[in-house]
Amino acid sequence: MEIVMAISIGGIYAMAVYLMLRRSLVKVILGVMLFGQGVNLLIFASAGMTRDHAAVIPGNAETVIGPSADPLPQALVLTAIVIGFGVVAFTLALVHKTQQAMQTDDVDKMKEDDG
C-alpha cells in the first residue's frame, strides 16, 4: 500500500513542478494547487498506511481499544486543507484581478508599469 502511495505522491509532485514551470499563469496556479494536494497526501501517509480502527475512544472505556490509526496526521491534514483552501481562494481572486489589469495570462509578458 505504501509503495502505491509513495509513487502517486511522487507523480503529483512531478506534475505540479511541471505545471509551475509553465508560462501561463493559470497553469502555474493549477500547479500550485496540485502541489498542495500532494503535500496533504504525504502528511496523510506519514504515519504509515494500515487498516485499523479509527482512534475513537468508546463511551465506557478510558483508552483506545486495540490497534488504531494515528489520528495526528489526519488532524494535521485537515488543518493544511483548510489553510490551503483559503490561500487558493485568494490566489484565484488575485489572478482574476491581475488578468483583468494586464490583459494577459503570460507571465513573461507581465512587465511592470509604475503608473
Binding site: L94, M102, M110
Partner: protein
C-alpha cells in the same frame, strides 16, 4: 506565566476582532495605537522576565510537552517579540498619516494586527506544525496588505510573492510530513532530543535541506530572493516598512531555531552550506542594489544582502557568532524599517522615489537629512552607530575562527553598502531638484511621520553609544542557542 507568554499573541487577536466589530475609522486608529503599545509593553516585560528567570515554556491546554502545543520564550524569541512590538507601535503611528481612507476602509488596521499576531506567534511557538500555521496567518495578512490598492505593479509583485511563498509553505509541510514519519512528534524540543539519539541520518538530512530551502525562501537568501525586490517597493510605504523589518527575519529566526536545536549532527556540511549561501547572499544583494535608482528598490536589495550577515552568524556556529547574529537582527530591524519610513516621507514631499527625478532635500529639510544619515551610516557600519557593533562582533568572531573569506566579504559588502547609501544621499539630498519650481516649496511633514523616524534614529544612536545592554542580551541568546539542552529541558522537563 501562561498568560504572559500568550499575551503577545492574544493582544493583536483581540484588537483585530474589536476592529472588525467597529467599522469607525477613528476607533480603529485608536485601537491600533493602544494594542501595539500594549504589545510593546508585554514584550518588554517578557524579555525582562526571561533575562531574570531563564527560558520559559508553557503548554497550551495543559497537555504535557510532546503531546500538546508548547509556547517557549528564550532570550532570542523574547527579544524578537519585543522588537516586533517596538516596530509595530512606531510603524502603526506612521500609518496614521500615511495610509489613505480607501485602505482603512478595506481593513488595513485589522490586517496589520493579524500580521503582527502571525509574526509573534512564529517567534514564540515550540511546535513545528504550529509554526507553519503562524507562517500562514502572517502570509495571508501580508498577501492582502500587498495587493490592497490593486495597482498593476502591486498585482504583479503579489503574484510572484504569493506563488513563491506557497511553494515554500508546501516544502515546509513536506518536511513536517517526513519528519513526523521519522520521529513521531512535532515538538521542536522533542525532535531535537530524538534526532540526537537517532541513527537514521539520511532522511533527517533530507528534512534539514527541505527546511533550509523553505525558510531560506522566506528569509530571501541567495538564490531564492527574487520575490523580495519584485514586490517590496509596490505597496504603501507603511506596508513595505513593516514587511522589510519583520517578515524576512521570521525566516531567519526559523533557520536559527531549527539549525541550533534539531540539525546539529553534521555541522560541517549543514552549517558550511549556510556559510556559503550567506556569502553569496551578501554579494548578490549589494550588487543588485548598486544597479538601481529607486530608493525602495535599493533598500529592498539591501535587505537581501543584510540577511546574509545574519545567516553568516548561524553558519559560523559558535556562541559569539550567534550572539552577533542576534545583535545584527535587532539592529537591522530598527535601521531598515526607519530607512523605509524615510523613503515614504521623501515620497510624501517630492511625490516620487526615483533618484533621477528628485533632489534638493538637504537645502529645505536639513533635519530630515540628518535623520536619514543616522540609519544610513548605521546600515553601512560606521562607528559609533549600532551597525558598527553588529558588524564588529560578527567580523571579530569570524576572524577568531579563521573564516577569512567571510571576513573579507563582510567588510567589502559594508563598503558597497555605504556606496549605495551615499548614492541616495548625493542624489536625493545634495543634488539640486531637477524641477526648479518644486525646489523652493516646503511641504509640512506630518508629526506622525516625524515621531517614529526620530524615535528609531534615537534608538540607533542609543545602541551605538551604549551597546553593553544589547550585547548582554545578545550574548545570553548566543549561549542559549549553542546549548540546546537548556531549551529542550525547559520544554520537556518543566520545574513544578
Amino acid at each position: 506565566m501562561t498568560v504572559m507568554i500568550s499575551l503577545p499573541v492574544l493582544i493583536p487577536l483581540i484588537a483585530a476582532g474589536l476592529m472588525l466589530l467597529t467599522p469607525s475609522r477613528l476607533a480603529q486608529r485608536i485601537i491600533n495605537t493602544i494594542a501595539t503599545f500594549a504589545h510593546l509593553c508585554v514584550g518588554a516585560w517578557l524579555l525582562w522576565y526571561v533575562m531574570e528567570h531563564g527560558i520559559q515554556a508553557v503548554q497550551m491546554g495543559n497537555w504535557p510537552a510532546p503531546f500538546g502545543i508548547s509556547f517557549v520564550a528564550d532570550t532570542l524569541s523574547a527579544s524578537m517579540v519585543l522588537i516586533t512590538g517596538f516596530m509595530g507601535f512606531l510603524v502603526g503611528l506612521f500609518a496614521l498619516s500615511d495610509i489613505d481612507k480607501e485602505h482603512e476602509h478595506f481593513g488595513f488596521y485589522p490586517l496589520y494586527q493579524i500580521l503582527i499576531m502571525g509574526v509573534t506567534g512564529a517567534f514564540l511557538t515550540g511546535d513545528l506544525f504550529n509554526m507553519f500555521v503562524w507562517f500562514e496567518v502572517m502570509l495571508m495578512a501580508s498577501f492582502v496588505l500587498l495587493a490592497l490598492g490593486g495597482r498593476r505593479a502591486q498585482l504583479e509583485g503579489s503574484v510572484k510573492y504569493l506563488v513563491l511563498n506557497f511553494l515554500s509553505s508546501g516544502l515546509f509541510l513536506t518536511a513536517i510530513g517526513i519528519l513526523y514519519a521519522e520521529v513521531g512528534t512535532l515538538n521542536i524540543a522533542a525532535i531535537g532530543r530524538l534526532v540526537a539519539e537517532s541513527e537514521r541520518s539520511l532522511s533527517i538530512m533530507t528534512v534539514a535541506m527541505l527546511l533550509l530551502v523553505s525558510f531560506g525562501l522566506k528569509a530571501a537568501v541567495f538564490p531564492l530572493f527574487s520575490w523580495l525586490p519584485a514586490s517590496y517597493h509596490t505597496p504603501p510605504v507603511t506596508v513595505s516598512a513593516i514587511f522589510a523589518g519583520l517578515l524576512t527575519k521570521v525566516g531567519v529566526y526559523a533557520l536559527i531555531r531549527v539549525f541550533t536545536v534539531i540539525f546539529t549532527a553534521d555541522v560541517a556540511f549543514t552549517h558550511g552550506l549556510i556559510l556559503v549561501i550567506s556569502i553569496l547572499t551578501m554579494i548578490t544583494g549589494v550588487l543588485g542594489a548598486a544597479a538601481h535608482f529607486e530608493i525602495r528598490r535599493i533598500l529592498s536589495f539591501h535587505i537581501v544582502s543584510q540577511i546574509g550577515y545574519m545567516t553568516l552568524g548561524l553558519g559560523l556556529f559558535t556562541a559569539p557568532a550567534l550572539a552577533a547574529a542576534t545583535f545584527y537582527i535587532l539592529h537591522h530591524i530598527i535601521v531598515k524599517t526607519n530607512l523605509f519610513l524615510i523613503s515614504g516621507t521623501i515620497r510624501h514631499i517630492k511625490g516620487s522615489e526615483e533618484l533621477k527625478k528628485i533632489g534638493g532635500l538637504y537645502k529645505m529639510y536639513p533635519w530630515l537629512a540628518l535623520l536619514f544619515l543616522i540609519p544610513a551610516m548605521s546600515l553601512g557600519g560606521v562607528p559609533p552607530l549600532s551597525g558598527f557593533f553588529a558588524k564588529f562582533t560578527l567580523v571579530r568572531e569570524a576572524m577568531g575562527i579563521g573564516a577569512y573569506i567571510s571576513v573579507g566579504v563582510a567588510l567589502l559588502v559594508g563598503v558597497l553598502t555605504l556606496y549605495s547609501m551615499t548614492k541616495i544621499w548625493a542624489e536625493a539630498f545634495w543634488k539640486p531638484d531637477p524641477d526648479e519650481e518644486r525646489e523652493k516649496e516646503v511641504k509640512r511633514i506630518p508629526v506622525m511621520m516625524w515621531v517614529p523616524i526620530a524615535v528609531m534614529a534615537a534608538a540607533t544612536l542609543c545602541i551605538g553609544f551604549y551597546p553593553e545592554w544589547l550585547l548582554t542580551i545578545a550574548n545570553r541568546a548566543g549561549e542559549e542557542l549553542m546549548d540546546p539542552s537548556r531549551y529542550i529541558q525547559a520544554v520537556l522537563e518543566p520545574r513544578q
